[in-house]
Amino acid sequence: MNKVIIDVKNLVKNYDDFKAVQGLSFEVYENEIFGLLGPNGAGKTTTLEIIETLRQKTSGEVTVDGFSIDKDASAIKRIIGVQLQAAGYYPNLNLVELLELFSGLYGVMVNPMEMLEKVNLQEKAKAKYKALSGGQKQRFSIATTLINSPKIIFLDEPTTGLDPQARRNLWDLITQIRDNGTTVVITTHYMDEAEQLCDRVAFVERGQIIALDTPDQLIDNLIANGFERKKEVKKANLEDVFINLTGKEWREN
């Protein structure tokens, strides 16, 4: 019943003598939030960028919605939205002008204000990207990925460096995008985030997938093996305390 939208088979990427990705295989299903988890340098970003057709693979096969990354890169680019880690935007332009530029680059007609409303940035329409807060920058990046009404969006560590409120707000946005029918592929270092947000996660370590399942199942597997936390888990954690004390609203600007 789950339709495969991204199919990665035996993906290998070597940089000179460094093997960044060593025979990765996984499938992403349509309309799920799929998480790639793993430590820095495990090959998450490289894998994403190969699927996004931004990087050449060494070997292996990747298809995105039936298109091969070798032959149909431009067809793939038209159905995906990409948020890069630490990408900048054209200097001296405000958000509306940047969205106009991207609608030209994607060859679609969009109303920039509607795009900004989707990510709750309509009040920043005339602001420059550089003047935005961390959370606003990430939300704007996500707005640029939605311009071409993509089937899949790729988010590379979108919540890194955000405060708890901004992070939770971004989770809501990402969930909403998934609920509107878009497949989301996300990388993160935060396990609480993956647990809350992702339908399925893959653990990447040294260029290989070492586990892939729903967060729930992976936790159950671990417990079944006899794992126990040293400290009994309370019904709330420190982040709940933080949110409770400081409120859920945004505090940007």
Binding site: L84, L101, L105, Y106, G107
Partner: protein, 363 residues
Amino acid sequence: MQSPYSHTRATLALAKASFRSIMRSPSAVVFTLAFPLIFILVFGFLGGGGTKLDIAVAPGSDLQNPVIASLEKMPVIRLTKNDELGNILKALEKGNYDALITVERNKNGVPAYFTTVKYTSASLDKGNILKSILNELSYNLNSQNIKPTVTEIRSSTVNGRLYRTIDFILPGQLGFSLLSTGVFGTAFVFFSLRQNLVIKRFFATPVKRSSIVLGEAIARIGFALLGALFIILIGHFFFSFTLVNGVTTVANMLILATMGVIVFMGFGFVVSGIAKSESTIPPISNIITLPQFLLSGTFFSIEAFPTWLQPISRALPLTYLNDAMRKVAFEGAGLWEVRHQMLIILIWGIVIYSVAVKTFKWE
């Protein structure tokens, strides 16, 4: 569901974005417009006045005489009558006065006056001009009412086009403006787009590389031409810059400007490719622009340079752009008449773009 992707639309979207960005970039506006305009203003006002001879009249000198009266009528001469001798002598040494003049009535009758002139070695050129003015003056005054015995010189001047300082300076400044827009602008933009992963984000869209370069080029050429037009018009209407054939001349100049800026952008692409960091862009760009700024006849005619330097000047593309611009603007030459200059600019273009293709980096 998908309509065909339009590369033209993507290119134009990039051109529009880039143009907006350039217009808001202070350095682009300063280098392309403000700098050349300041030079034009300075030289425009300097050049308008022409040469002036500053002459002090010695205290106690007779002032009611035909010599002083004639000198006062001459526009090139500025007489100062009320300075003290001490000041005058100091100013003479520094060249602030070009000469000191004393006129005394001759009590013995003929000649009626003695005129004594003290020149200064600090201002020999102007002293020489004054010498010939005084010779002519004394001849005219002495020969009043006397028929010449040998010859009378009857001179007249052909009414030619007045070649003002602005006619030399403006094309040079225009060339400089195009050079800095092309080199600095292109180098900085492509370096920072690459460094800040803006280009990488573009690559995640269906846009072609050629559209990115072309869009940027359209914006920059458009901006450079607007700047050029602005400089030409300011020069023409405020400083009487000569445009022999009016609109045709302007159009020819803009065509040359386009050629120039395309070639200079090639240098910019090379710089953006070889620069290791943002801070190395200005020195590398200066290595390209400064020699051309100084040696390509921007301020002085290259004929004024020592002979060993002239071959270097004659190798630089800006020399030919400046040369062609001056011929077109002042002599009213058509583009065909400056084909030699255009050919050399074209050769530079081919050379620099073949280097750019090798050194340019996308990531």
